[in-house]
């Protein structure tokens, strides 16, 4: 295809991405290093026959003029990144100096909003991802033994948790684990404690969110692994059977290695997707117990105050986190591309 033809074919989609993805990223970065202008203060000296008093007031007009003349605000460098709401450098240094053990240091860190969110986001990402891969693999192996007719029905129901709107899915779960809901009732019967409330306990809330995450994403892993199982090397399986391999050995030494590229694929995709965990925290109304980076951004932007600079700084830090998680994917794609050349 000629460059010219390519350009015209690609223009609409390229323009859409340039204007609404690339430009906003630039805008977010700029916002994160600027803040709204301080109000202009004027000091008026009023003198009475006996004494003079100085009065400082906000010059409304000058403030408005300044804000209109330079709507971006003033450049503050990395101040927003380093303040208490984000990296909180001063507070971390203070905690490091004053706390006498590592445990105390981490509990101090847990009081800072950004580190609290990072703590949950990483815990969530790195527990949900392996668990959903294991569950997805188990379902795929089990479903593969069914007859053709049953498979369709099982796949239909298996897709539901993944297809459903994340906010809706988490609400459905949340209503069930409510201490008046069916699962909440069951749990308090199980541990014989009528006052048990998932909503009130931080560890239980974390577990509930992780269970939701696995429930929501396991179908994806299942579908991918199931497709992989359809291309199993039959001859290798037969050869291993002749050599007397047990069922478990066949799974361990043939099926799993065959599916390994798919496991990597699912793991990489899911690490990125779980890192942006957000809707379950809204749906479970869990912000008192668990926050994530996405939730902080959402919270800063919402409401009356709309702290856009704070949200922008967290956005940039989140993008950096995603970039770290994405780098293995990029390396892999690069190798594939090299291989094809």
């Amino acid at each position: 295809m000629k460059h010219r033809t390519f350009f015209w074919f690609f223009l609409p989609t390229g323009l859409a991405m340039l204007l609404f993805i690339a430009a906003p990223i630039v805008s977010v970065v700029i916002q994160s290093v600027t803040a709204q202008h301080e109000p202009v203060l004027i000091t008026v000296e009023t003198c009475t026959p006996f004494s003079c008093t100085e009065e400082t007031t906000i010059d409304q007009e000058a403030t408005r003029e300044l804000r209109e003349a330079r709507p971006l605000g003033r450049f503050v460098g990395l101040d927003i990144y380093l303040d208490r709401g984000h990296l909180a450098v001063a507070e971390v240094a203070e905690a490091w100096r004053t706390s006498d053990s590592i445990g105390a240091f981490f509990s101090e860190l847990g009081d800072l909003p950004f580190y609290r969110a990072i703590g949950f986001t990483l815990t969530y990402t790195f527990t949900v991802t392996p668990l959903l891969i294991i569950l997805g693999m188990a379902i795929a192996l089990a479903v593969n033994t069914l007859t053709q007719k049953l498979k369709g029905i099982v796949i239909f129901f298996s897709l539901l948790p993944m297809i459903v709107t994340p906010l809706v899915g988490s609400l459905i779960m949340f209503w069930m684990i409510d201490n008046r809901g069916v699962l909440g009732n069951f749990l308090s019967w199980l541990v014989n404690d009528p006052d048990l409330s998932v909503k009130a306990s931080t560890p239980l809330m974390w577990i509930a969110l992780i269970v939701y995450g696995v429930w929501h994403s396991a179908p994806f892993a299942f579908v991918v692994f199931y497709a992989g199982l359809q291309t199993l090397p039959e001859d290798q399986i037969e050869a291993s059977q002749i050599d007397g391999a047990t069922r478990w050995q066949q799974v361990r030494y043939i099926v799993v290695p065959h599916l390994m590229p798919l496991v990597t694929f699912v793991a990489l995709i899911q690490l990125m997707d779980n890192f942006r965990v957000f809707e379950p925290i809204v749906g479970f109304n869990a912000s008192a117990h668990a926050t994530s980076l996405s939730w902080i951004i959402f919270n800063d932007m919402g409401g009356e105050t709309r702290q856009l600079s704070a949200a922008a700084a967290t956005s940039v830090l989140t993008i950096l986190g995603v970039a770290i998680l994405l780098s293995p994917v990029l390396v892999r794609t690069w190798r594939d591309f090299k291989g094809k050349m």
Binding site: M1, T5, F10, P12, T13, G14, A16, M17, F20, I21, I25, Q31, A138, I139, A142, G152, V154, F156, S158, L160, I163, V164, T165, P166, L167, L171, I172, W175, M176, G181, N185, F186, W215, F220, V223, V224, A227, T231, I237, Q241, F265, V266, R276, E279, V282, N285, S294, I297, F298, D300, M301, R306, L308, A312, S315, I319, L326, V329, L330, T333
Partner: protein
């Protein structure tokens, strides 16, 4: 593995069947439970006294004279005007799917037919954009949209969702078009077609399976989005998902959680139908990237 000598021992078969039943309950029970409960009153669905009330509807019968009631649906759809959000959702989804498929098809086709190195870099850029959580972009939209006075209306949200959708659409259609033999459009070009004519006359007629699969995922993205729609739409233009989120704030104080339950069931129903009819396409779409890549 059909031969009877290789059949699994009974214990393993029982274990497998048991596990599948366990998974099916895990996957489907929450939906069935909520659907059933949405026809009850709050005291039944959230029952502290006796959980079987949710099944029998004892309090519902006392209040409404029958074990089922549509009060939650009436409250959500009529009183809270949930139907407005439903209409908005379908307007947004329709235009997002149509636009993103139109421009995505052209772009994906071009990427699959051009052998130059820059196509690789464009695809990599798209991959990076795909990994970006949409919410990180939203704070970049707000200021300009306020400035230009386009915040809160449906067209703005549609364009933003189309753009966010593009990276995924491009990857999917790119790999799909690569499976259509190049000889098809090349022979058309030999016969005197321009590239666009070759695309329109030769490729368009055979591209529908891939386009439908991609369209399903575009639809799901637009339908399920919460981060973008809740920040970019004004109260009167809300789509379903932010409307449900807004219900939560108001219902807890007014004691009509059942409105939210009814709204949640209403929002799940179209997805249910979608999976029923397009199961095969969804499965093939999910595996397309994985098995090939």
């Amino acid at each position: 593995m059909a031969s009877s000598a290789l059949r699994a021992p009974l214990s393993l078969r029982v274990l497998t069947k048991g596990f599948i039943i366990f998974w099916l309950i895990l996957a489907a029970f929450p939906f069935i439970w909520t659907l059933w409960g949405s026809f009850k009153v709050e005291l039944d669905f959230f029952s502290i006294a006796d959980w079987t009330n949710a099944l029998t509807g004892a309090n519902t019968e006392r209040t409404h004279g029958s074990p089922f009631t549509g009060a939650g649906y009436e409250g959500a759809w009529v009183q809270e005007e949930f139907w407005r959000s439903v209409i908005n959702t379908f307007i947004v989804c329709f235009f997002v799917v149509c636009t993103s498929l139109t421009i995505g098809t052209l772009g994906g086709y071009a990427l699959s037919r051009s052998g130059y190195r820059y196509t690789f870099w464009l695809l990599i850029t798209a991959l990076i954009f795909r990994a970006m959580p949409p919410i990180t972009l939203v704070s970049g939209y707000l200021l300009p949209f306020f400035e230009w006075n386009v915040w809160g209306i449906l067209p703005t949200t549609i364009i933003v969702l189309v753009a966010i959708n593009q990276p995924f659409t491009l990857w999917m259609l790119h790999s799909f078009f690569q499976n259509i033999p190049k000889e098809l459009d090349e022979s058309a070009k030999v016969d005197g077609c321009t590239q666009f004519q070759a695309f329109r006359l030769v490729i368009v007629p055979v591209m529908w399976p891939g386009v439908i699969t991609t369209g399903l995922f575009s639809f799901l993205l637009a339908y399920n989005d919460f981060a973008v729609t809740s920040m970019l739409l004004s109260e009167s233009n809300r789509t379903m998902v932010p409307a449900i989120a807004a219900f939560l704030g108001t219902t807890q104080t007014e004691g009509n959680v059942m409105f939210a339950v009814a709204a949640v069931v209403s929002a799940t129903a179209p997805l249910f139908v979608l999976v029923m009819f397009f199961q095969r396409q969804i499965v093939s779409g999910l595996t397309a990237g994985a098995v090939k890549g």
